[in-house]
Symmetry: C2
């Protein structure tokens, strides 16, 4: 498409909006995430000589002239980006991001922006649910090994932390993004020793009283007896299998009887928001949850319907008008206006970018101009704290894990009228070309 | 764990095996993939000075001595790896990979190996199903924008090609791995023009008769009329929405009436193996399928139960013996022996690595010794051709998309006896420590 735009001198400014078409089932809201990685990409966008040489030889480009490859060599993203701050709850159809740039620049970044923002938004949204189910107990992200490749694990750890997890087992996410990382021991650590107790002693010899010891390699309560008899005082013990509700209560009683009140019980093993809620409802004595697969893959909803739609071209609003579209996307550059009453968000209006609602908070702000960030990247910790506040401001019914209420979102009168005008015009001209004003 | 192993001089050779615990529902087999990226990682493993400095300051390592960080600075993977060739059908419990190295080296690579091999295996397995459903028609991977981050899209394109897809829309996967890439136009391309026909003309002006034109931006049959009236002869037309069975037949008839017999019909839009099979059964006239989300995320089974288990330590077989384990993992280094009768695979035996079954093909071979590849990386094209042959050799019932038969896999008598001996011994000594011979 870039080559076709270029050779036809069809490179007017275009605006694209990125949004999620539908919420997955059980989701009352999403948590926007991934913006910083998207902006890094836009700032760094450039083709290397080797890449250009590869494209030049690509059979698909055999009829494309040299000027296009010269253009690619100089290409940098120089557009403008408006975006919702990471950690903000968002709903279907609400733009998370708007890119305005000459159409080649705006279009060539589509796939990267979609995969980056949609993936992290999906994970952050799942994480918020799991954190909620843990009712104040810390949740640590444990899912790297089941994530979709090595980078997905790192990004999932970031998104999970943003949305309220307290940390990750992924050290690379700590190194790159400052997500607090912590470790425990695996079954293989215990299994590499003749005696289970020796593995505990050796571990504590290095990590001291901050150690978390894994109980269920052979027999959880048996392992606990050894720890107590040996006088070890670990920071925590971890259960990774079995009836966690029952065993955790037994472990807690045994720890307390020995005065190990400070030793926390960590639970893991194919947990998600539903099993955590059930465990806590049944009186499980668990202080911290490690959640892996369900979190790092958003297992029950492993894809969001993220799209990137042309809404403006050459300063004219644009829209796709195919008959089958049940939920049409609206033309024009938009702003999301969030209304709050007594500290609780009550409804959003998706309006045109130039509308003003003095009572509402506009969610999109300009984050990039001429291809450069407008302000330095905010810290992940800061975003995380704001996210927690924002999520708490949603109506409780919208946060329900099983049957969330639908948060009211409406298009503004102005956008509705514009869309109706375009529809009428399109019907007049046979519905098969763009409508221009 | 590495620090604990190191400070306790507990670094004997260990063997870990990577396998998938259970097949997801509807899957009769998996297609092994991701080995080359795993071997690249092992060959390149090294900590940079900045990474070591980061670890040194990590609060978790506050009690760890300097010698460990000096050890990390010199750390390279120097172990041995046995693996199943990429593109080979495999079943649950069969090792895809075995790593033998001093335990620190073997353990520190666990997460990366799991995420790399499990993810690509999951995608290749899904791709094989989709390719099968298309009954000989090419399938192109279209899912990058819905993949779990930018790298997942590139790796998914590779795995999909390995398992039989004919190409990808991900140009980076072409650049890195030689997966044939091709492009079409998006709705936004058409929408950026006043007139739909002008967008087609401009595109064909650059890409000529190899162009694929997108029909459904406004009205598919209307767009086709314009193409025909203008005398355009595109290589293909694409349908991305609507009743694909019905519209594709109408489009085919209209194309044929105008002598455009060579113009192919490409279909896309939330397709998977089930919808493709249904489309073809209902007589859809589709020549090529573009499959996105379902393929790049393995949407119906977005995680495999991949594990990495210690099976040998210090030359002694090891196993985890917890009571709750329904499907125990077996100790000792293994080999998978595949038996074939009249060109069809009939059963596998998972035996000890040193067993010999002259009638069977041993699936694991040594691919890395002393941390270096034994032979150069095979070409992806070559692996893809072998994969197609191998998948065809599975019993048809095992390849059924809805209710696959279970392929017979058994442990060898030797492994069963070893495991029984360990169990007996463990019961004698109270089931709470490692059994040694």
């Amino acid at each position: 498409m870039a080559a076709a735009y270029f050779q036809n001198c069809h490179n007017a400014p275009a605006s694209f909006e990125l949004f999620i078409r539908n919420l997955p089932s059980h989701r009352g809201y999403l948590v926007a995430a991934g913006l910083e990685q998207a902006l890094d990409y836009l700032e760094d966008l450039a083709f290397s000589d080797t890449q250009i040489e590869f494209l030049r030889r690509h059979p698909g480009f055999s009829k494309v002239g040299d000027e296009f490859f010269e253009y690619l060599r100089r290409l940098r993203f120089q557009g403008e980006v408006w975006a919702v701050e990471e950690g903000t709850p968002v709903f279907s159809l609400e733009p998370l991001l708007r890119v305005t740039a000459p159409v080649i620049e705006a279009q060539i970044v589509e796939t990267y922006l979609l995969t980056t923002i949609t993936f992290q938004t999906m994970i952050a949204s799942k994480a918020a649910r799991i954190v909620q189910s843990a009712a104040g107990r810390p949740v640590v992200e444990f899912g790297s090994r089941r994530a979709h490749g090595p980078l997905a694990g790192v990004l999932a750890a970031r998104a999970a932390y943003l949305a309220g997890c307290s940390g990750t087992s992924n050290v690379e996410a700590h190194y790159r993004f400052g997500v607090p990382s912590s470790g425990t021991m695996a079954h293989s650590f215990v299994m590499s020793y003749h005696e289970e107790l020796q593995s505990f002693r050796d571990f504590m010899g290095v990590f001291g009283n901050s150690s978390v010891l894994l109980l269920d390699t052979y027999d959880s309560l048996g392992a606990l007896e050894k720890i107590i008899s040996a006088g070890l005082r670990p920071a925590g013990v971890r259960l990774d299998s079995g009836n966690l509700a029952e065993i955790s209560q037994q472990v807690r009683r045994r720890l307390d009887r020995s005065g190990l009140h400070a030793t926390k019980i960590v639970a893991s093993g194919d947990l998600d928001e539903y099993s955590i809620a059930k465990l806590l409802a049944s009186g499980a004595s668990i202080d911290l949850f490690g959640v892996g697969t369900a979190l790092a893959t958003s297992l029950d909803a492993p894809a969001l319907s993220g799209v990137y739609k042309l809404v403006m071209f050459d300063h004219q609003p644009r829209v796709k008008l195919s008959e089958q579209e049940e939920k049409p996307t609206y033309p024009d550059c938009k702003q999301v206006f969030r209304f709050t009453e007594e500290g609780v968000h009550c409804h959003d209006i998706i309006g045109a970018a130039d509308e003003v609602y003095p009572q509402a908070e506009p969610l999109l702000s300009c984050v990039m101009r001429n291809g450069r960030r407008v302000t330095p990247a905010p810290s992940l910790q800061e975003l995380r704290e704001k996210a927690a506040l924002r999520i708490r401001r949603l109506p409780a019914a919208v946060r329900d894990l099983e049957h969330p209420a639908t948060y009211p979102v409406e298009y503004s009168e102005k956008l509705k009228e514009l869309f109706a005008r375009i529809r009428r015009q399109a019907t007049l001209q046979g519905n098969s070309d763009q409508v221009w004003f």
